[in-house]
Subunit: 706 residues, 2 copies
Amino acid sequence: MTATRAPEFVTESRTALDRLFAPGSVAVVGASTTPGKLGTSMLEAVRNSGDLPPTVFGINPRTEAPGFHVSLASATAENGSPLDLAVLCIPASMTPAALRDAVDAGVGGVLICSGGFAEVGPEGAEIQEHLARIVTSSGTRLLGPNTSGFFRPGRATVSFVPTVADIRAGSVAVVAASGGMNHALSFLLSENGIGVGLGVGLGNSVDVTDVDVLAHLRDDPTITAIALHVESVTHGEALLNVVRDVSARKPIVAVVIGRSDVSAFSESHTGALATSWKTTRALLAEAGAVVVDSERELVDAVAVLSRTRLSASANPGIGLVTAQAGPGLMILDALLTGGVSVPSLSEETQTELSRHLPPMTFQANPVDTGRPGPTFADVLAATAADPSIDALAVYALAEPDAIDLAAAVRASGVHETLPVVLGVGGPAAAVNATTTVAAGIDVPVSASPTSLATGVAALVRDARSRYLRSAPPPSPIASTSPRVELPADESVAKDLLDELGVSTPPRRVCRDRTAAHAALAVLDLPVAVKILDASVLHKTEIGGVHLGVRTPEELDAALDALDAIDSPAYLVESMAPAGVDLFLGARRDPVFGPIVVAGLGGTAAEAIGDVAIRSHTVSPAAAVAMLDDLQCAALLDGWRGGPVLDRNEYASVTRAVVQYLAAHPEISDIEINPLRLTATGLIALDAVVVPTDPASGHRSSEGEWA
Amino acid sequence: MTATRAPEFVTESRTALDRLFAPGSVAVVGASTTPGKLGTSMLEAVRNSGDLPPTVFGINPRTEAPGFHVSLASATAENGSPLDLAVLCIPASMTPAALRDAVDAGVGGVLICSGGFAEVGPEGAEIQEHLARIVTSSGTRLLGPNTSGFFRPGRATVSFVPTVADIRAGSVAVVAASGGMNHALSFLLSENGIGVGLGVGLGNSVDVTDVDVLAHLRDDPTITAIALHVESVTHGEALLNVVRDVSARKPIVAVVIGRSDVSAFSESHTGALATSWKTTRALLAEAGAVVVDSERELVDAVAVLSRTRLSASANPGIGLVTAQAGPGLMILDALLTGGVSVPSLSEETQTELSRHLPPMTFQANPVDTGRPGPTFADVLAATAADPSIDALAVYALAEPDAIDLAAAVRASGVHETLPVVLGVGGPAAAVNATTTVAAGIDVPVSASPTSLATGVAALVRDARSRYLRSAPPPSPIASTSPRVELPADESVAKDLLDELGVSTPPRRVCRDRTAAHAALAVLDLPVAVKILDASVLHKTEIGGVHLGVRTPEELDAALDALDAIDSPAYLVESMAPAGVDLFLGARRDPVFGPIVVAGLGGTAAEAIGDVAIRSHTVSPAAAVAMLDDLQCAALLDGWRGGPVLDRNEYASVTRAVVQYLAAHPEISDIEINPLRLTATGLIALDAVVVPTDPASGHRSSEGEWA
């Protein structure tokens, strides 16, 4: 894929996308009357769009039929003004000329459905670059090529897939990397009772990218949530910016492809742990998207978030009311596994619940009602009124004779004070009856325990993410610090860390043996004695590190060894107390710019890939919380009597290092490994500052970020 | 829950369960004619069962209505022979007397729906124990109490949930811990086009357990797959035995609750890493169940496995044919993430495919057909014919004008030679049309990319699991080895390992300093010098381990230190070369008996809980494969030039240790930590043999196995 036009996150493009996505007039270039042809299907689809279809022109010099014209120019003349959209249903080789015609005719947007471009090899790539050159300086926006199109159910169908007409209209926008996934997702949403407001497949993204479409959707009042499907990211920082901006206004749920792309491991320790899949997911989540694992979870999350949203909150409490213990247990298990808080209800609440429920049921949260009866609305109201509860999850098997769940919600009024998500098991007719009543009060309904738990977890993650960004605005910590002299040896790197507020061990740089012995005399023992050479990255491997030195004799032995490997100087340094070794690396990601990668030191965490990743704009609150992402997070909180990580100290270190990197283009990587967690705080025991490769502009690492 | 009757995995119970689950005559005790009452709903439900409902008697001394009797005895008299089933719809306190009546009347099975037993406290538990005493020596089987019942759609509905009548009949059995989950799962299966042959909620399992029901289903020709829902396991070995036996004949898909029950960490390292959720899942999978993460994955897996099954195979190859690249990529990502092999097709196959597909599509596997055309059946046939392909996964968006996916399968005939799983995206009408045609040729259809991938992964896991068990029958390795003298110090423990064929370092037990110095003179250097005291479990913590000793002076220093902590003797031992430290622990699980728990040494793996667990009957092939479960498995295969684990050597060590434990009830735990992987093989660097606590019969560890 070649993207010749850098899509900035700008607002000027909005008008152009308005004409593209809400066209009043459409030309189908290569339209046909022959059944089965692409141009026939597309023409039919556009003509049959909703109740108020656009004015449609078929363009084909060889077809005489009503509504057909020989050229765009002739159609434009009949229309009386430039057409809003031209859909090109012609072979790849013919598209540049047709695109040029469209630009010349002042068309607002062009959609190219055909394949045969960059995805098939150099010849196609050349045509694609030609398209890019044509459109780049024009006022025309290009969607595609290599996409089945887009649709706004009930308003405009610009897709050659005929079944699109069955997709129900609604308020969710689907922004998919591929036309196939746009359709697959839109059908899934529709079949799960969630309407689609706009479905877009981006295809080869020569011009219009996900960044443009997200920006376009930001202020669209008909869209309440966005489902984002990502296959690869080309303009990382622009994508993060627009996600940050849009998700503050409406929720974005994202699924990222590429988990199984196990990249080659990198030469540098930090890079080796981060794959682009992990980076993309972590940074999208940091920016505000709810990142899910599959298109099914995406449907569950969008089902809830398109209808309701929690206020920004560090840890919203969920009240779980269930009419059956078994499914309730499954929901609780899934919620807790997903890190969702299901707090115990207050004694007051439990007293109130006991007035409405038989004595033998569990009422602390989950609230097990037993077979639902007439007091169900009271139970909901009492649970919702508990001060620790921010949203309700309610499950019951459909029993038409016993309970109308949605009616009970309506009667209780709880949906007017907090988000409520229903789960109903049973035959389709009963579930649909509940769904219909619930839709009337904008309450989402899930059809299984896991769906319910996934939707509620999405609600919580969305609220947490906004909380992490809503804390005091990130103030630059360290970008004004001075440049460091490059190449930097360990001591210079540690001097930089000192300036950034990161603790390092007391140390002396010793140019000769006398200085080393003097250092031994004044430093706390034992000391580490190390080679000091900016050109050596892996000191231990060459015998350049000697630990536990206490006596002049031991020092001499260490110095002898360092002399044997031609150490230009010696670093003599007090050893830190025992603790938990972390690593923290700031580096330039080729897609997303400066990022920070952190985790536990050692090979186990590395082999598992247990890392947390954030951007250089990470907020203080997000930096405080970031290590909670780690599977091994328990090691940071006093594991077996060990030290407890001060999350605020950690956040300061992280932000200082990555912001410094962001402000200093001459540096490619800053790696602290280990960053030791001790009883008295964090200490950087080793540090490497890697200069940017002047030839490439950044350190080359294509292999790692496939 | 109290289970007073130990359910063995026996066949004698079959007749009893036949009468329970396929009753020709049913009495509803506590039947009523008052709308809304449990006894009314149940009577109606049983009376309206299918086309050939059983003979039904209402039992209520206070109700005069057609079909009602004052007592079981009177109904039995009218029936002319003992009734097959009595359903008790009466309060808990009245159930013991009614159960006694049923036993006396020779009733085959009794179902108790009411709650109010062990789940509500001591008073209920007492009633439940009373029920157990009544039924334990009788010929009557008891289902429940505290369950909503069971159903055989189209044949018998013994559930008070009225919507059960809508569940479609089919060949899947649902065996659920709770009545609520039985209904929730059965509805989900039904709504996803999968019919249910028997749905059972076990409730408090006073008598009939999952073990009984699984054994009952083993030879039922109407059942092709079993969906098992597990909340807790009381008779672990019986459950594993029946799963092993039944899964050899028909697939079992299991979901286990309790992932979020984070147990307190145990005192012993090995135990700390295994929670009962992990143990249950690992052992069910080893026994042959396909263990899934949610009820939704269960539906996906059962949808496929109830219709088709692969032959036992170590690594079946999947051919993925997709009409749209985007969904195809998502399916491929999910398959590869799930460890499913999607092998490249042979050149011959690709040449054949190129005859049926346009040149620009990807044809190596996945096979991207582009928009499906008339050659689709040829593409399926060519892919299926590839020697590396054992099953086909096929996805397309529904395009009624372009392709009938199921018809293409039928035309190709591929479903007659290998398992085929279809995935279709689109509006319900189109998906249902495909599903109907596909059902005619017993080909399962999934409605989303993730569903398809989950179903195919289940197919593969089922085949692999049978392969691992079908390898040469497990021969006991070490059960005849002699008893070890207890309590055992480190040297005695290592002597045992030597006998079991596990390598240990060369060592000398030294009773005095002279012996220690003599040992230093003959052993390879450096040596470790350790305290030798069977009563000390944590040697390092008390200063009982001195490493890297090379000289007589260093030895004296180490011995001085050991003398200071009153070491009764010294262990002097050559140190092993560097490598990767694993741990391997054999222990007695209170539920499942002797098990082996293995993983990487060190705190990171421990904090993450990255362990593999197997039973003492683990097959050689399963022991060879077990460490592939680990997230950190890459560390075992030459990570950064390190040693490569010989999986066969590992399997021998594992089986020897756990089989020895199984044969020696006087031992509670055998722990090897570390078990070092070196370039020349595995070496046990430390070993502990823990005697069984004579008071409890096994080492107490309730806290860890909640």
